[in-house]
């Protein structure tokens, strides 16, 4: 009798999961389908299919509403910040995970704490600091902020990766007379390649959807990144009632990170979970 109850329970949980997943797929599909509808079609049947698939919505938002500009800004900012974060984090993560020296655990701890610091606790001083050096309303400024705020979590991720790589190879290279830099670049970096790639994908996706720092630090329209640009477009397009354009904007904004994620989901998830379960 007991096991029958368990079976029923299992069916219910699985049903719940299926509904949940069905809903998620439906919502994403609905976004895409609606982006091909005319505004009139959206009004007459919100949840239905379009009669013809039209791409006017896309061309309109890209040109007239400057979405192309937002996409370009985001590509520049996010790619640069991702590369910069990895370049700064990889060496220090290697050192902190493999070498013990005075202060190493203090430095490690302060980065770990940094993961938990909400950016809201520091954005007022940051804003004043950045406006003093003219880096507000600037993509360069945003690249710096993205890089610095990504450091703690990236270092945490990469330390996890370096810990899984045996140090014997680097050690023997050292004995053979290679400098520390040489053994890091020639031996450790190639071995950590997949870990660094996973971390890079994670940083890219997280920065692509970033909204808050952009909202605080960017106000000029031609400097906006995609999340912020989408926010202004929502206001504009709901005001004019251009729902078709709105959906096309949403699809264009979310497409790069979602496609990137789907293609590399396995790596992405491996990157996120490397530290789980081995303390």
């Amino acid at each position: 009798m007991n096991s029958k109850l368990d079976q029923i329970l299992k069916y219910i949980i699985n049903l719940f999961l299926i509904v949940w997943i069905g809903f998620s797929i439906f919502m994403f599909a609905w976004f895409i389908i609606s982006s091909f509808k005319s505004t009139r079609e959206i009004y007459t049947s919100v949840w239905g299919l379009p009669k013809v698939f039209r791409i006017e919505n896309y061309t309109r938002v890209l040109t007239d509403f400057g979405l192309a500009r937002f996409l370009l800004n985001s590509v520049l900012t996010v790619l640069t910040a991702t590369v910069l974060t990895l370049a700064l984090s990889a060496p220090i993560s290697y050192v902190l995970s493999k070498l013990k020296f005075r202060g190493s655990s203090f430095i490690t701890m302060s980065f770990i704490i940094g993961i938990g610091i909400p950016v809201q606790t520091i954005f007022i001083p940051l804003y004043l600091m950045m406006s003093k050096i003219n880096l507000t309303d600037s993509l360069t400024g945003l690249i710096w902020l993205y890089t610095v705020t990504s450091l703690p979590f990236t270092i945490y991720l990469l330390m996890g990766f370096f810990k899984t790589i045996p140090s014997s190879l680097a050690d023997s290279a050292q004995i053979d007379g290679a400098s520390a830099w040489q053994s890091f670049i020639k031996i450790m970096l190639p071995m950590a390649r997949s870990g660094i790639l996973s971390a890079g994908i994670y940083i890219f996706v997280m920065l692509w959807k970033e909204f808050e720092l952009a909202l605080v630090f960017i106000s000029k329209e031609h400097k906006q990144t995609v999340s912020l640009g989408l926010y202004s477009l929502v206001t504009k397009l709901t005001y004019t009632g251009d729902w078709g354009g709105l959906f096309a904007s949403v699809v264009l904004v979310i497409l790069p990170s979602v496609v990137f994620y789907i293609l590399l989901a396995k790596r992405f998830i491996a990157g996120l979970t490397v530290g789980i379960g081995k303390n």
């Binding site: 096991s3 368990d6 329970l9 299992k10 949980i13 719940f16 999961l17 949940w20 998620s24 797929i25 919502m27 994403f28 976004f31 919100v46 949840w47 700064l88 060496p91 220090i92 290697y94 493999k98 070498l99 013990k100 020296f101 938990g116 610091i117 909400p118 809201q120 606790t121 520091i122 954005f123 001083p125 940051l126 710096w144 610095v148 450091l151 703690p152 140090s167 050690d171 050292q174 400098s179 520390a180 830099w181 996706v205 692509w208 959807k209 909204f211 605080v216 999340s227 989408l230 929502v234 709901t238 005001y239 904004v253 979310i254 979602v258 989901a265 998830i269 979970t273 789980i276 379960g277």
Partner: protein, 309 residues
């Protein structure tokens, strides 16, 4: 490890200095030092945009204690921590149970991928989406209810009565997808021999989940509760863009957490308050609340029995 040999120590020294010091200084300047600055600003009466800065000691903090708007956002943040925490951890555990039962690895990966997907999407897009789901007149939820003949259950979900639940449900939908990834990774690392032994002892699947999986996921559960507590206070975009009266207005007071209120106090554009010093005091309280909650959570978990495996 090689470092223990003193001869090689010197060779490492420059390498260690060159790799750690610049990054650590950069981090210190942009992330640690600003915390101290926030603390300093919080002791002044200052808009932030003028030279007029008057030292007022702890008066900002005293004012926070009587500021009903602020207290309400603290309460709302705590509600996100508690309700969100129970729902998210509960649902994530149920899904962990269901997904670990799958025989096919490919199926597991696919389900996990779809669940996580909302986490890769701009918060503005998701807030907009949720507006469509819950719209009173033609939203998905009310349409389904009407279709099922349950039209009497349809509500104005975005009105004041339901708005908190509306925002909470969005956060739950997103974060179950986030935590399931961590839970499944944790469950993957449990040695299969334990389950086999329990099976021989006659424990059925559900019992095995309760007796083996959950206790062995203790660390993962603790991590997820800590992370959710941080998230609940610092989540911004989803709530900010979840405009109650259509997009483009400030978020309804009923759903604002501490972060959103802090932003509106410092930089809000529609109803400019521009009190940077006062907002800095909020920032310090935010940091303290998060630190205290994390400390308490750790303490609770430490006091529960430690399991060996």
């Amino acid at each position: 490890m090689l470092m223990e040999s003193p001869i090689l120590n010197n060779r490492y020294k420059n390498f260690i200095l060159a790799t750690t010091i610049p990054v650590f200084i950069l981090y210190g300047i942009f992330m640690i030092f600003p915390i101290l600055q926030s603390l300093y600003y919080s002791l002044f009466d200052w808009s932030g945009f003028t030279k007029n800065m008057t030292f007022i000691g702890l008066k900002n903090y005293a004012e926070l204690g009587t500021d009903n708007f602020f207290l309400k956002t603290v309460w709302t943040s705590l509600k996100y921590v508690l309700y969100g925490g129970v729902l998210i951890i509960g649902i994530t555990l149920l899904f962990t149970y269901a997904i670990t039962g799958y025989k096919s690895k490919r199926m597991k990966d696919l389900v996990q991928m779809i669940l996580f997907m909302p986490n890769t999407v701009s918060p503005v897009a998701l807030a907009l989406l949720w507006g469509f789901v819950l719209n009173t007149r033609w939203g998905l939820l009310n349409s389904i209810l009407q279709g099922l003949g349950l039209g009497f259950l349809a509500q104005g979900w975005l009105g004041d009565d339901y708005i908190f639940g509306a925002a909470l449900s969005l956060l739950v939908w997103i974060h179950v997808g986030f935590f399931i990834v961590i839970y499944l990774a944790g469950a993957d690392r449990i040695p299969p021999s334990l389950y086999e032994a329990a099976e021989i002892d006659g424990a059925n699947e559900w019992k095995r989940f309760i007796m083996i999986t959950i206790p062995l996921l203790k660390d993962v559960i603790e991590t997820s509760i800590v992370l959710w507590t941080i998230f609940a206070f610092k989540i911004f975009g989803y709530i900010y863009a979840f405009g109650a009266g259509g997009c483009g207005s400030d978020p309804s007071p009923g759903i604002r957490n501490l972060s959103v209120q802090l932003y509106l106090t410092a930089f809000g554009k529609r109803t400019p308050i521009n009190r940077l010093a006062y907002a800095s005091a909020m920032a310090i309280i935010l940091l303290l609340l998060v630190a205290i909650l994390i400390y308490l959570i750790r303490k609770v978990f430490k006091s529960t029995e430690i399991l060996e495996y």
